[in-house]
């Protein structure tokens, strides 16, 4: 009897999700500045229950989408420009700027944001741009590390990732212990948290394309981060977004840049394999 109703429930849910999957996301194409064609749908990497991975851009309304199609309209570009200035600014006791070591970011940083997080042989762990930049600051520039979510940190991360805009996300999981971190991230993705008992998958896998009250649920991809959020009127970092989503389950979130969120970032970034880097994306 229990099984029966369970089955009926599941069957209904499956039917509903099939029904909405066809009409869920729009078929628009994301082209930036009239010439940069962005891959916003890609065949899902093996092991995901989706056929396609889909950028969060497709889940937003036309007006929000439009803001990302032109850099003059994209409010996130201001921070990218701020990052450009910081790139060239000497900071720290070593008297160096980023440019002192890396020259033109358009060349030296191209592709870095598409393979993030990547294995750091020095740190013996995967690092994202926040951690890599702080490593450069402390070890090479003898400058203070950025505090998490310092506006300068967000500007620098956005500027570096912007150099990969349009390139497909592709992690190298063969480096170091990346696979173990990926496994840990996957485990976290499917772990239910909080009083409301939701995992990431509850919202972004089981219910992508459905409405949670006024929120149209996307696949929760991170190809666009840091992402300009209209609600917050600022760029939001990946770990800040993770924190918000965990908090919404009525759980105590993990610390930004903790091992848990780094593992989750490795896994969630992998889930977006093939999607173009959109930094700075615009969401509502």
């Amino acid at each position: 009897m229990k099984g029966q109703l369970g089955m009926a429930g599941l069957g209904l849910a499956a039917l509903l999700s099939m029904g909405s999957a066809a009409s869920a996301q729009d078929a628009d194409k994301l082209v930036i500045n009239g010439d940069l064609e962005m891959t916003t749908r890609a065949p899902a990497p093996e092991g995901l229950p989706f056929e396609e991975v889909i950028s969060g851009w497709h889940f937003r309304e036309d007006e929000t989408q439009a803001l990302e199609t032109d850099d003059f309209d994209n409010p996130g570009m201001l921070m990218v420009e701020r990052g450009q200035d910081l790139w060239n600014e000497v900071q720290g006791a070593a008297g160096k700027s980023c440019a002192s070591c890396h020259g033109e970011a358009a060349e030296s940083m191209k592709g870095v944001g598409a393979k993030t997080p990547f294995w750091s042989a020095e740190a013996k762990r995967p690092v994202n741009l926040e951690l890599q930049i702080n490593q450069c600051r402390t070890e090479r520039m003898q400058a203070e590390p950025y505090k998490f979510d310092d506006p300068d940190q967000i500007a620098m991360v956005s500027f570096v990732r912007f150099q990969s805009r349009g390139m497909p996300v592709k992690l190298d999981l063969d480096q170091g212990d990346m696979k173990a971190w990926w496994e840990r991230g996957k485990e976290l993705y499917y772990t239910r948290f909080g009083q409301l008992d939701f995992s990431c998958a509850s919202c972004h896998e089981q219910n992508a394309g459905k409405y949670l009250r006024a929120d149209y649920l996307s696949q929760g991809q991170i190809n666009g981060f840091p992402t300009y959020r209209l609600k917050d009127a600022t760029l939001i970092s990946t770990h800040n977004r993770f924190k918000g989503c965990v908090r919404d389950t009525r759980a105590e979130p993990f610390q930004p840049l903790s091992d848990e969120f780094m593992a989750l970032e490795v896994y969630v970034a992998w889930r977006g394999t093939g999607l173009a880097v959109e930094t700075p994306a615009v969401r509502h």
Binding site: G9, F193, Q195, L196, D197, F198, S202, Y211, R213, R250
Partner: protein, 154 residues
């Protein structure tokens, strides 16, 4: 004399509240049998008017996050994660509705995303101030059940 009466009154009050407390079934004591929780968790019938606000309140049931309900058509943005509940009172017995609200996982299976509303979670990093507390009180569950029973479609 007057003091004595007051004292007796106080004793009676304490006894009454003990009786009321004893009648409430704690989350860990609720048994879902045959997908049903037959008896009221408070021993009393719920209040459907209060149940209606438990249903729509974001801080209580927040049922509209996942379910549409035509009886609350004035509330914008109704979710579609779960089935439309407009006529759910005609589809289930009260005891089944109570079981679904108390712990939907025991009715639909572990996979469901519907939270258990009368089930205390202590682990999985539950926010400290909420650890061990169910989402709704027994009284709120009863009010909700009394309301759901009235949903017979529009």
């Amino acid at each position: 004399m007057r003091g004595l009466v007051a004292a007796a009154g106080a004793v009676a009050l304490v006894m009454a509240s003990v009786a009321a407390a004893a009648a409430v079934t704690a989350p860990e004591e609720v048994k879902v049998e045959d997908m049903t929780v037959a008896a009221s968790l408070t021993g009393q019938p719920g209040d459907p008017a209060k149940g209606r606000s438990v249903f729509s309140s974001r801080s209580l049931g927040n049922c509209l996050a996942c379910h549409a309900n035509a009886d609350l058509a004035n509330e914008l943005f109704q979710g579609d994660v779960g089935p439309d509940l407009t006529d759910v009172g005609g589809r289930y017995e009260p005891g089944q509705l109570r079981a679904i609200v108390v712990d939907s996982k025991q009715v639909f299976g572990e996979q469901t995303v519907m939270p258990a509303f009368y089930h205390a979670i202590t682990d999985q990093r539950v926010r400290k101030d909420l650890a061990g507390k169910p989402i709704l009180t027994a009284e709120q569950v009863e009010d909700l059940v009394a309301y759901l029973v009235t949903l017979k479609g529009k």
